[in-house]
Each structure stands twice: as C-alpha cells, then as structure tokens.
C-alpha cells in the first residue's frame, strides 16, 4: 500500500479548510452570518470528505493506506508523505467531526469573527496534518503550525489572563517540540549514516535499531515534547490556564483534539522509533501517568471554576490514556486509542456545555449555580450523560476505554494500576460534586431563575456527540476492530526486538480464542 504517489484524497482533506479560510479572506468582515456559513460549510465538507476516506479505508489492514508521497526537499530526503491507518483514521474523524460543532458553538463570538473563523480552519488543517504526516519533518511542521492559530484563539478571544495563558501554552509546547526537532534531525542523520538512505520517512526509520543509550536521549526528547502536549504530570500547568482562558470552541478543540496529539505522538513516534529506550523508561512513564491521574483528580476536586475543573480532569483522563500506552499490550494500547476518542467527545461536550452556560451567565464559578435542573432540564440531562461518560459509566463510551486501559495496564503493573483505578473513584467524586452543586439543590440565585434552556442550535451541536457517546459505549466493536490491525502492527514494531524485559509480555495475536462457543 506504500506505493501510491502524488497528491490525493488526504491532501484534499487538508486543503478543504485552507480553501475555506481563503474564501473567508475575501468576504467582507461585516457579514458575520455569511462568514459563519462559509466556515461551517468548509468544516462540514471536510467532515464529509473524511467520511469518504473512512469509507475507502480498509479496516482489516494494519498498513498505511492512501499514502501520498511527493518529494519536498529531495536533497535531504524530506518528503510530503501522508498516510492513514487504523490509529490515525479515528483521530482524523474526531477532528473533522468536532470542528463543525465547535464552529457552531462559536455563535456567541461577535468580535473579529472573520479572523476567528480563519484561525479555526487553519487549526483544523494543522491538526489533520499532524495526524496524517508520516514524514517526521512534515509532522513537525504541522505540529507547530497548529500552535499558531491556537495561540491566536486563546490570545485574542480569550478571557482576562489570555495573554499569559496563550504565551504559556506556546512556550510550553515549543520547549518540548524544539528538542524533538533536534532529535528528529539526529535520528535521520544516524539513519543516513547506517543505511546510506537519506530519509525522514517514519516507516523507514522504524527499521533503524540504534544502541540503547542513543535511543535513550532521543526518546527523552520526543517524550518531553509529547508529554507536555498530553499533558503528563508535572508538565500540565499550561493546560488549566489555556483552557480557562480559551474561548469555548478553543477549549473544545484543545481538549478534544490537541491533547490527543501528544498521546498519538507517543504511539506513532516515540514508542516505535525507540523501543528499547521506551521499555527501559516505561516504569517512569507509568509512574508519571498514575501520579497524573490521581493528582489531576485531586486538584480538580478543589476547583471552583467549572472549566478549570474540567481542565484538571483532562490531566487525569489523559493519564489513563498514557497508562494504557505504557502497557504496551493490545488491550492497553487499544483502550488508550479508544479513550482518546472518548475524551475528545466527552470533554469536548463538557466544554461546550460549560460554554453554553457561560454565554448565559458570564460566569463559570460553581458557587454561582445550583438547581439548574428546574430551569434548564435539557441542559441538565445532557450534562448528566456527559458527566457519566466522563466518569466511565458502563454503557457509555468512557467505560470501554478505561476498562481496556486498566486491564492492559494491570497485566503489566498491577500495583500502579490499582492506584490508577482509584482515579475512577476520584473522577466520580469531583464530577458528581460539580454536577450536584450546579444542577441540583434549590434554585436560589435570582440570576439563574431567568435562564433559558438550550436552543435548537445548541441541541444540534450536542446531539451528535451524545449519540456517539452512547453508540461507542454500547457498540464499540466497529471502532475497535478497525484499530486492531494497526495497533497490532505498531506493537509488533515496539516489541519485536531482542531486549524486551520479561516483565512486559508480548501478546499481539489477533485471533481471539473462541473456545466453547
């Protein structure tokens, strides 16, 4: 499947938002309705196109598909190399799916609409590119490209401390990614020295087996970059700031997609490129993940601002995702991948809901609310579903991911997993606490007595998410089965090396044992 050449469907997918942004440039800034329509159409077109790609996608194969390969800087072997597999396809879908909803949720943006929409669309391209890129340099380019629109979104349309938050976001991210750049260069250099082939093609670089001590540093550089993005404890402090200050759609995209790039980076790059180092350092990563789970939850519990609470809950949830990756077995990794989607949906929805209530009340302090069920039953009901999805209630999507993650991790590190599992309790504690204080209780605050329930636009935003939350909880198999071959291929890459320590068990056999049935 790697033979395809030239530009193709994936490039078009990347281009659609850019085309939309270009169209916006030529529209007069006063007609915000037209601007919104164009942006919405562009993102919807991207979503439809990604569905078409999904349709063409062969879920039974673990190989890269729809590969597009164009020489970019041939002198040093940098290519415009795109491809998609079971790992990235769903993240791409998640991105294109959330973007129209985020745009719809931006209706309350009245200021500088044109620029806002342009940045949103560019952000989409950046994220999609990062998921699709198979050339390390190209990946890095997209990785950085998406930083800029996000910076603007937070900095221009954010809250009171937006400038601080935006700068912190950028600096944190760049702190990691610049070192990764050096590591990328070094890796390709070593590859060139050892094989005489000058390339940044990640599929080729997988084949390279560096000595452990070199892998060690390279892995650290990659891992730092991704860990900051995830964010792994203790690199997380940019996240609450960014989330709190970002506009609703920014938070949705940030939590929904951007954070996934960190875990995706681990899965796609850091782990398979440097398997020996990854396995040697795994205990530390596991420890950080688990600390993040518990720590994030504890801190979330004490927050007075709903958005901040959700932000810290992301720290906790992403800790789960990392833990699953660290398990390096089918259940853990697949669970992680699944949980990335879940988190994208449920946390995205949470931010949307918080945004909706913020639009009405212009506050996010938990203490300002109470008894909203009376006034906003629809809102409350949807928040309830999303809350339980976030808690990981069986039957909703969160459970499947969390269960697989914990199961996978438990097979590797029971003690840490047991601690991590306590995060499930803590998750219930802070989410339900928040829910209780916001939704239940008497409707005392006169400000709240005038609240309007969700309007149809808001319902349109939330309905598809809720639908997916339920669907992915009840019937995850269509998702899982398409992920499996790619995850398996990836795991083989990571584990198929001589020095795997005994603690890590290799289990990548695809066929389930169906005895007695």
């Amino acid at each position: 499947m790697m033979s395809a050449q030239g530009f193709g469907d994936l490039t078009l997918l990347l281009a659609i938002p850019v085309i939309g942004a270009a169209l916006l440039l030529f529209l007069p800034r006063r007609q915000s309705c037209a601007l919104f329509t164009v942006a919405l159409l562009a993102s919807a077109a991207a979503f439809l196109w990604s569905l078409k790609i999904f349709n063409r996608f062969d879920g039974g194969s673990g190989a890269m598909q729809l590969v597009e390969r164009v020489a970019w800087m041939p002198a040093v072997g940098i290519q415009y190399l795109l491809g998609i597999d079971g790992i990235s396809i769903f993240l791409v879908l998640l991105t294109t799916f959330l973007m129209p909803l985020a745009l719809l949720a931006s209706w309350s943006v009245r200021d500088k609409v044109k620029e806002y929409l342009i940045f949103m669309l560019l952000l989409e391209t950046g994220m999609l590119g990062a998921f699709l890129a198979l050339d390390l340099v190209l990946f890095y380019v997209f990785w950085e490209v998406m930083l800029v629109p996000m910076y603007f979104l937070i900095g221009v349309w954010g809250g009171t401390r937006r400038i601080y938050a935006a700068l912190k976001f950028v600096l944190f991210t760049m702190a990691g990614s610049l070192l990764m750049l050096v590591a990328i260069i070094y890796l390709a250099t070593r590859h060139a020295q050892m094989t005489q082939a000058l390339t940044f093609d990640v599929m080729q670089l997988y084949e390279l087996h560096l000595p452990v001590e070199q892998q060690f540093w390279l892995f650290l550089a990659f891992a730092l970059s991704f860990a900051i993005k995830v964010p792994l404890f203790p690199f997380h402090t940019w996240l609450p700031d960014a989330h709190v200050e970002a506009p609703t759609a920014g938070s949705v995209i940030l939590a929904g997609v951007l954070l996934k790039l960190g875990t995706y980076g681990f899965l796609r790059f850091a782990l398979p490129l440097f398997p020996d180092a990854a396995i040697a350092l795994m205990p530390y990563l596991i420890a950080l993940s688990v600390i993040g789970i518990v720590y994030g939850a504890l801190v979330a519990m004490m927050q007075t601002d709903i958005k901040k609470l959700v932000a810290y809950s992301s720290v906790s949830h992403l800790g789960f995702v990392m833990l699953g990756l660290c398990a390096l077995n089918m259940q853990g990794v697949q669970g992680s991948l699944y949980q990335m989607l879940n988190h994208g949906l449920s946390t995205g929805a949470l931010f949307l809901l918080v945004g909706m209530i913020y639009d009405r009340r212009h506050t996010r302090l938990i203490s300002e609310f109470g008894g909203l069920w009376k006034q906003m039953p629809l809102f409350s009901a949807l928040l309830l579903v999303v809350t339980f999805s976030s808690i990981g209630l069986p039957g909703l999507n969160g459970f499947v991911g969390e269960f697989l993650i914990l199961l996978g991790a438990f097979r590797v590190t029971p003690a840490w997993t047991a601690v991590a599992a306590s995060g499930v309790i803590l998750g219930a504690v802070y989410m339900l606490w928040m829910f209780r204080r916001v939704i239940f209780g008497p409707l005392n605050n006169p400000e709240n007595q005038k609240l309007q329930d969700l309007n149809s636009r808001e319902l349109i935003i939330l309905t598809p998410i809720i639908f997916l939350i339920v669907l992915m909880g009840v019937y995850p198999q269509p998702f899982l089965s398409r992920m499996q071959p790619a995850v398996e291929a990836n795991l083989k890459r990571i584990l198929a090396m001589p020095a795997a320590p005994a603690a890590v068990q290799i289990e990548v056999s695809g066929e389930p044992k169906n005895d007695g049935r």
Partner: protein, 481 residues
C-alpha cells in the same frame, strides 16, 4: 595580463546607477519631486539583477589575476544585496520624504554600499575585500547619520563609525600579518601557501587570522563585538536599519564564508572552539536581551545579534556541512528581516518613529495586511514552520548535528524557544491589545506595501517550497571550489 571585465558587470551596473542618481539629483530643483531617483535606482538594480541571472547561466570566471571571482557564490550574494537594496529603497521612499533626508544621496549611498558589498562577496584578494568593505562601511556610516535632524541618528552614526573604524584597525592588522606570512594578499595564493606547508605556519599567520576573525565578528555583530548593534540599529533611520541588518550582515558573512570558512579552512582547528563559544554567547545574549526591550526596532537589533549567532553555527560546523545552511539561512533571514523593517518603516507619524510595542497595539485590526505580514515575519524569525525561518533553522541545526556539534543544535533550539517570547510579544501587541499608532495605509505608503508583499512572498515561498533555493545555495557554495 588579460583584462576580463565581464565579471564586473553587476557591480558596475549598480555603480553607474548610483552615479546617474547622484548626477540627476543635481538637476532637480529643491521642492520638486524626486521620485524619479527611486525609479532610476530600482531600474538599475533590476538591470543588475538581470545581469546576475545572465551571468549565472554563463561561465563563471575570475578577473584581475583572480582577485575578483564572480562565481555562483558571489552571484548568490549579489542577488541578496540587490534584493535588500531594492526593498530598502522601496520601503524608504515615503520615509525619506517624511523625515526630510536628502533623497538623491540616500538612494545613491544605498547603491554605493551595494557596490561595496558585491565587491566584498566577489573579492578573492584581501585588499579588494578590504576596499569593498570600506566602501560599504563608509556609505552605511553616512546612511546611519543621514537623518540629521534626529539626534539619535547622529549618535548612532558616531558610535557606528567609531567602532567600525576601530575594528578596521584590527582587521587591517590581521591582513598585514597574513600578508607578512604568505607574501601575498591573494586568497588563492594564501590558500596554496597553507596547503603547501601544513603545520609550518608561523605564529603570526594564525594570529593574523584571529585578528581578521575579530574584524568579521564585529561586522556581523557577534558577542562580544556586538555592542554597537543595538544602539546603531535603533538610532539609524528604519530603512537603513533593515538594510544594515540584512545586507551588511550578509556581506560580512559572504566574506567570512569565502575567506575564513573556505580559503583559510586549514586554520579551522585553531579557532573552532572560540567560535563555538562566540556562537553560543551571541545567540544567547541576543535573545536574552531582546526579551526586555520596549522598542521593537531595538528588539529586532538584538534579534539580529541572535540570528548572527545562529549563522555562526554553520561556520563553526565548518566547510563540509556549513555552506548550504549558511547561505540559505541568510537568504531566508533577508526576506523576513527586510519585511519586518518595511513594516516598521510604515509606523511613522510626522517625523517621529513609532517603533515601541505599545505603538503596535491593535494594529492587527487597523492595518490587517501589515499586521498579518508582521506576524508572519515574527513567526518566521522565531522559527515557526512553514516559513522561511524554520527551513533555515532546520538546515542550520541539521548541519550542527551532522558535524557532531549536537550541543550547538540543542543550545540553538533552546535559544529559539527564548526568542519566541519577544517575537510573540509583537503579535500580542498587534492582536491582543488596544490603542497604539495607526500605521500607514496603502494610499499613504504604497511602496512599503509592495516591499512588504515581496518580502512576505519570499518568506512563505522559502518556507513551503525551499527545494530550489536550497539547491541554489548548495551550488553557490560549491562554486567556491
């Protein structure tokens, strides 16, 4: 002795243009429009560029006993100089009028400086190089002080001149010692001498090399010879600052590349360590000090120091890997820096320069194009892909890694991180704050917009499709053989 004048063509073209401008100026009465002079200058530069392209296609050869080599390398740099001069003139047209500087002399001096630069890039003889350098320097000294009604401009000229002349003394001393050791100033002969008698070089030969290096380090603004840079850049008229930070730096690096990096490369081992320190100190100090500036112009001055630091990386890396990144980075740097200064040029009210961060507040929505361009220039300078600055840095750091100077690459990227702080502050001001100055509209300063647009196109082009320029850079450096 055969006299081959063809290689002189671009330099003479620019020189003639300068003379025409000077003379034509005399026939324009006071109070009449002098726009035609800018037009002449641009046409002359355009012709020179055309000649450069023409020569690129032909056989590159030396002239005057090979003391002047208009090879691909020189042509590459000639294009940068011509570009810089053209964009400077474009963005200066309104500025010069507004500040009451003498238009004819201004353009003429830019052109004279360009002549000197082309000579520097092509010089294959230390004396030719030295005279080119002085021609350029003197023209730029004058340009710096041309805004005579402005005390800062004069002060900057004084500082620049004093430090420049002082550095010239060291440079010349270096030339003298090298001449003494090798009996010639011709680089071909010096190079031959170095290769003939390895390890029997007299002490003062290498000492001369060091003194030469000091002179170059001064010109490019490397720590600790950088102190003039912020003051001079801040005080000079804005277009001149842009010209200095691009063309003068490029010329110095061109000479450095040809003379120290290439011809004197046998001496590499002697100064690689100090250069390593200088490179690190330059980028770190430049970035560090840029953080706390209040004037964007002065920030750009420090940033230009920092970029000199990045440019020193390929020089430390050496002749094997350093050539391409050095040239490409200079090209990329030229576009983005010229663009940034062009935007700055538009920020004048009356004869007052509005170059503080606070003056840029809210520009993003008052002058969307200028602000967008400025934002992209800043991002490019900070090294965000897919802009020219990223590609440049990528190759610079790659060269460091390839040559085993991993530490330089790491320090380099950490510096990039540092630089993000102040580059983004410009964007913060433009998009996230309110108030500030207005900047000129297209009507008020159409040529600035053209200059900005050209620089922007270059910045984006080199970021997205750098393959051709990279190839070109590689072949240009290769032509030094």
């Amino acid at each position: 002795m055969d006299v081959n004048l063809v290689p002189l063509l671009p330099a003479v073209q620019v020189l003639v243009t300068a003379l025409v401008v000077t003379l034509r100026d005399l026939f324009i009465k006071d109070g009449e429009s002098r726009g035609v002079l800018a037009f002449y200058s641009l046409v002359g530069l355009g012709l020179a560029a055309a000649e450069v392209f023409f020569l690129l296609g032909g056989r590159q050869e030396g002239a005057f006993n090979d003391s002047y080599m208009l090879d691909r390398f020189a042509l590459f740099f000639a294009l940068i100089f011509i570009l810089a001069a053209a964009l400077t003139i474009l963005s200066a047209i309104d500025y010069v009028r507004q500040t009451g500087m003498r238009e004819g002399e201004f353009y003429a001096l830019i052109l004279f400086a360009t002549v000197g630069m082309i000579v520097m890039a092509a010089a294959n003889d230390l004396m030719v190089f030295f005279l080119g350098l002085e021609t350029m320097s003197i023209a730029v000294y004058v340009l710096t002080g041309m805004w005579r009604s402005n005390g800062r401009s004069s002060e900057a000229a004084m500082k620049y001149f004093l430090m420049g002349a002082f550095a010239t003394g060291f440079l010349l001393y270096g030339i003298a010692l090298i001449y003494g050791a090798t009996g010639s100033t011709n680089l071909a002969q010096i190079s031959a001498y170095l290769l003939d008698q390895p390890s029997e070089w007299p002490v003062y030969l290498i000492g001369g090399g060091f003194l030469l290096l000091i002179g170059f380090a001064f010109k490019v603004g490397a720590v600790p010879f950088h102190f003039w840079v912020p003051d001079v850049y801040e005080g000079a008229p804005t277009p001149v600052t842009g010209f200095m930070s691009v063309a003068v730096k490029a010329a110095a690096f061109a000479a450095w590349a040809r003379i120290l990096l290439y011809k004197l490369s046998p001496l590499d081992n002697d100064w690689v360590f100090p250069l390593w320190i200088i490179a690190i100190a330059t980028m770190t100090l430049g970035n560090l000090l840029a953080i706390t500036q209040h004037s964007i112009k002065r920030m750009l001055a420090y940033s230009s120091i920092a970029h000199a630091g990045y440019l020193l990386i390929p020089i430390v890396v050496g002749v094997e890997w350093g050539g391409l990144p050095l040239l490409f980075y200079l090209l990329a740097y030229s576009f983005m820096t010229l663009g940034a200064f062009a935007v700055l040029t538009s920020m004048t009210e009356g004869d007052e320069s509005k170059d503080g961060y606070s003056d840029f507040a809210g520009l993003g929505f008052k002058r969307p194009f200028l602000a967008l361009a400025m934002a992209l220039f800043m991002l490019s300078l900070a090294g965000f892909p897919p802009l020219a600055g990223f590609t440049g840095k990528f190759y610079v750091f790659r060269s460091a890694v390839l040559s085993g100077h991993l530490n330089l690459a790491i320090i380099g990227v950490l510096n990039s991180l540092l630089s993000v702080i102040f580059y983004l502050r410009v964007i913060v001001a433009m998009y996230m704050e309110e108030g500030g100055a207005a900047g000129k509209s297209f009507r008020q300063a159409p040529f600035v917009y053209i200059a900005v647009a050209i620089a922007l196109l270059g910045t984006i082009y080199l970021g997205i499709l750098p393959a051709d320029a990279l190839d070109w850079s590689r072949r240009a450096f290769g032509s030094l053989e």
